[in-house]
Symmetry: C2
Subunit: 338 residues, 2 copies
């Protein structure tokens, strides 16, 4: 009895230390304005990490999943991953000159922005396949890294890695300091996102779940084994694919999930439907001045990139998801702002 | 300059604390006999975790992968997973009575051990499909847990969870205390292994990579979303499938890998071929008295379960893998031994 009580007290103190440290130090969400979103997040973390709270969640079950494009960093006007693919087209055409006269490669080589913006999804998939497969996985990672070091976005003239939302970076750190394991669950390519997830968000490769092509194990001429990226889609990590991939890669239903568009709906539903305390958060792009404004949440037509129909907004409000208006909830959007 | 130096010193002290604590406390591998295997493992951990060592590995790259059947626990005379599947056959037949007269279900229901042992691989796959798919993932986990609580093996009359090798459990703990993240990479079913990996080996679900069927996201009548296990093989985590799944699920080449049979060959090759210090370990089943002896390593014919041909043994020795003879290297095999 005494031993049990001592163990319980020790566990209690350890758990308190975990939650107490970030709070004591300084405001963990200083880029968030006081308001319902910030309050709901703080209350979720407090109630799930305070021993004795009816909503307390054991350490090993503290899983939080984040969509990437539009939730952790900018997705408009075009997914950064696609810009990387476009940048690789000349290299691919050099190796396979027959592609120079074939669409959509011809259009990409023309550098005609308007024509490029009109490439249909089927054409984009051809570009993705040609530029993201066929190479050794380790060479691929090095190439993405080299591109990220020099590429700049057209609006802010900054590396894409700086276009990460400061309030979300704070939230990632706050959750981790509170014992949550943070994962990225993205429709983007897993191998690309892994290259910068660690650098930008403090998330290691094994905590990045994304759309993934298979790889093929083989041996080089000198007998060294290596893995080649295959043009075979193994996981489409969008829509229903998100909870399915979460089960495959993580094996637990998240306690908290964060998204911003229709591709995140099932992940948010699946998270929110679990027992006990669950947090589903939807980020709205309604700040044209500091970032972008698009879709019904901003009183504008819906867009192909970051689709968020009115119906999903209504569902979020009806089901008690936390809705984050960038304009209202975020004091700062980017770290580089004055 | 001074600040940088202070940070460096702090990092150094932190790293030293990680490696120093297990060594100071007591012998971390007390179930291992002194000999070449134990010495090679200790030296690998020392050299990769000592700051300033030429073989030093940064914390985030310390990934160790372990096969399960035959490496962490007993696999003879038959994989535990199959025994679970056999135990589920009556339940499946109750729900689908037409299977009672169909092979291989008829044989399993007959309880004729010799006939069951003769079921071909194609028949075993039918049993696996019928017993491991079609249900909600959360119900599945609860059923496996309930079975593990009551099932006993026929030789030691103990729960299967006790048939884990004590020296390997020590090794898992020692690696973790040295900053390594430990993963299971098994040909067994991911969802089954996850149920006991945490309980038995301290490995959480998100660090279990296994053969996996897909799941299907859907909604119950009350609108609650759930995932159903589908009879569609997504990952065959054997042979070349092991490094391929390691890339998919972990995204880094392991620094250390542990296996015992031909299904682990490519994982061990891939691990050993990386740059810097790498450890590949092959466990031999050559102790009929305390566990089992089978295959060329024990001077016996090769077996279907835990196949380890002479050729792989030769390769292991030629390529500097650490070969662990259970008989010679392990002072104790199981925790329940006197």
């Amino acid at each position: 009895m005494t031993v049990t009580r001592t163990i319980r007290q020790a566990a209690l103190l350890a758990a308190l230390a975990v939650v107490a440290s970030p709070a004591r130090a300084e405001d963990p969400l200083s880029s968030w304005n006081d308001g319902p979103a910030r309050r709901a997040i703080l209350e979720f973390v407090r109630s799930t990490t305070t021993p004795g709270s009816p909503a307390f969640v054991p350490l090993e079950e503290r899983i939080a999943t984040f969509d990437k494009d539009g939730t952790l960093w900018v997705e408009h006007p075009v997914y950064t991953q696609l810009l990387y693919c476009f940048s690789r087209v000349p290299v691919v055409v050099k190796a396979r000159p027959e592609l120079a006269g074939v669409e959509p490669f011809k259009t990409v080589l023309s550098d005609d922005r308007e024509a490029i913006a009109r490439i249909p999804t089927s054409g984009l998939l051809k570009i993705v396949e040609a530029t993201l497969t066929g190479m050794d996985v380790e060479h691929f990672g090095a190439e993405v890294k080299a591109w990220l070091a020099t590429a700049r976005d057209s609006r802010w003239k900054r590396p894409y890695t700086e276009l990460t939302y400061l309030p979300m970076k704070e939230l990632l750190r706050f959750l981790r300091a509170s014992g949550y394991k943070t994962f990225i669950v993205t429709g983007g390519g897993q191998d690309i996102v892994r290259v910068y997830a660690e650098m930008v968000c403090g998330i290691p490769p094994e905590q990045v779940v994304g759309s993934a092509t298979g790889t093929r194990f083989g041996y080089a001429k000198d007998g060294e084994p290596f893995l080649t990226k295959e043009p075979k889609l193994l996981l489409n990590d969008n829509d229903a694919g998100k909870p399915e991939a979460i089960h495959l890669m993580i094996g637990r239903r998240p306690r908290a999930a964060f998204g911003n568009s229709t591709g995140d709906r099932q992940m948010l539903e699946y998270t929110k439907a679990g027992d006990g305390a669950r947090l589903a958060v939807l980020v709205l792009h309604d700040d044209a001045k500091r970032e972008y404004a698009y879709g019904p949440a901003a009183g504008l037509p819906d867009t192909k990139v970051g689709t968020l129909p009115q119906q999903l907004l209504d569902q979020a409000r009806a089901q008690g998801w936390v809705v984050v208006s960038m304009k209202d909830a975020w004091r700062r959007v980017f770290a580089f702002e004055p």
